[in-house]
Symmetry: C2
Subunit: 225 residues, 2 copies
């Protein structure tokens, strides 16, 4: 039975029926809320069904397991981060503002998507490319990570090209420094803690900008805070 449901699920997904995709999107959003409220470990498919006012069995038409739901939730959040970051990169802000916006948005996303993006960073983020684990999801996530890193790299490169940033190291090292300062928050940031993601993002953006700008005094944190 389960494999028959699996075939119907696959057919509905790849057939691109709008109703199906919309309902699956609603399911992913509901799962994200449940993961936020109960934590990923404690949450069950039954909780997600309850939140949607349906039953567990109906969920299997859309996803095969809690893990698949986790994958879908994480992918949607990470894809959203990449799309926003690419919009910042391609937008009209001065380059220093672009980098500050990237830092702030990423930090805010970890609060918004707590805890499942942190669970992903801690436990599932691939260090060595998609070939190691081999699932389609792992490969897709690897692509998103690369796209995100490429955005930061492009903005850092733009700042160096314009002479606005100092070439303290290679663009790639500088990018990893910026991303790392924010991503390390998966080891300590909790939304219920004493500081908000906005406060953290503002502070880290200022450190990074003052640190990279050829003229640190040209930075004013309040302009777009």
């Amino acid at each position: 039975m389960s494999s028959q449901i699996g075939r119907r699920r696959q057919a509905a997904l790849s057939g691109g029926r709008d109703g199906y995709k919309e309902r699956r999107k609603k399911l992913i959003d509901a799962a994200a809320s449940v993961f936020r409220e109960k934590g990923y470990g404690a949450a069950s498919l039954g909780d997600v069904a309850n939140a949607l006012g349906t039953d567990r069995a109906s969920l299997y038409y859309y996803v095969s397991s809690k893990e698949e739901l986790f994958h879908a939730v994480v992918f949607q959040a990470a894809e959203d981060n990449v799309v926003r970051a690419e919009a910042i990169r391609d937008g009209d802000l001065p380059v220093a503002r672009k980098l500050a916006a990237l830092v702030r948005e990423l930090m805010l996303s970890y609060e918004k998507h707590y805890p499942y993006l942190f669970v992903y960073i801690q436990e599932k983020m691939s260090m060595f490319g998609p070939e190691e684990e081999g699932s389609e999801w792992t490969a897709d996530m690897w692509d998103l990570n690369r796209r995100y890193e490429d955005v930061v790299l492009a903005v850092v490169q733009q700042g160096l090209d314009e002479g606005v940033f100092k070439a303290l190291a290679t663009p790639r090292v500088l990018s990893y420094g910026v991303i790392g300062m924010v991503n390390w928050s998966h080891r300590w940031f909790r939304p219920e803690g004493s500081v908000t993601a906005r406060e953290v993002g503002d502070a880290f953006a200022e450190i990074v900008l003052k640190g990279l700008l050829a003229d640190p005094d040209s930075w004013s944190p309040d302009e777009d805070a």
Copy 2:
């Protein structure tokens, strides 16, 4: 037999016989070299025995498994980091130089102790305190991590108290930002790469210092580079 060896090992260790401890220290140093050369996954106890010119069986008088050797190697490296960091904190450098030295030393240690400190950060570092896993080693490592964080926190606090650093966020958030920028290197830094740990440490130290100093122009990177 193995439990008899285990008892002898334990008695020799806790009895504090100098010869035993010295030989065990030599074994740990040899294991560190082997882990560096072959990687932790590929290294075997036989490789470590070869490096010491002895046989596998003789090693069991000192350690029970490759995992125990890994634990000992990581503990020794992390303890060394803490001792050096505490010396920096308690030394006579101006506070900005102290923070820069902490950043540089930590980054250099990841190159010196590659890859096992990175393996530890990626796979074994406890996010939630020692009670979760319960081994003595986990608790000891948790203590070292806390001691290290306390050093950075104390130096940041000193800088804030002296008015040398800006209070962009709480001292704890600023400390995690500094540590995070360096620790994220476990996802990307490789000693055989195109940049050295010294270059990365210098760049990150400058970013952090320019970012935190009330007067960024007071920072000159070359003074103690």
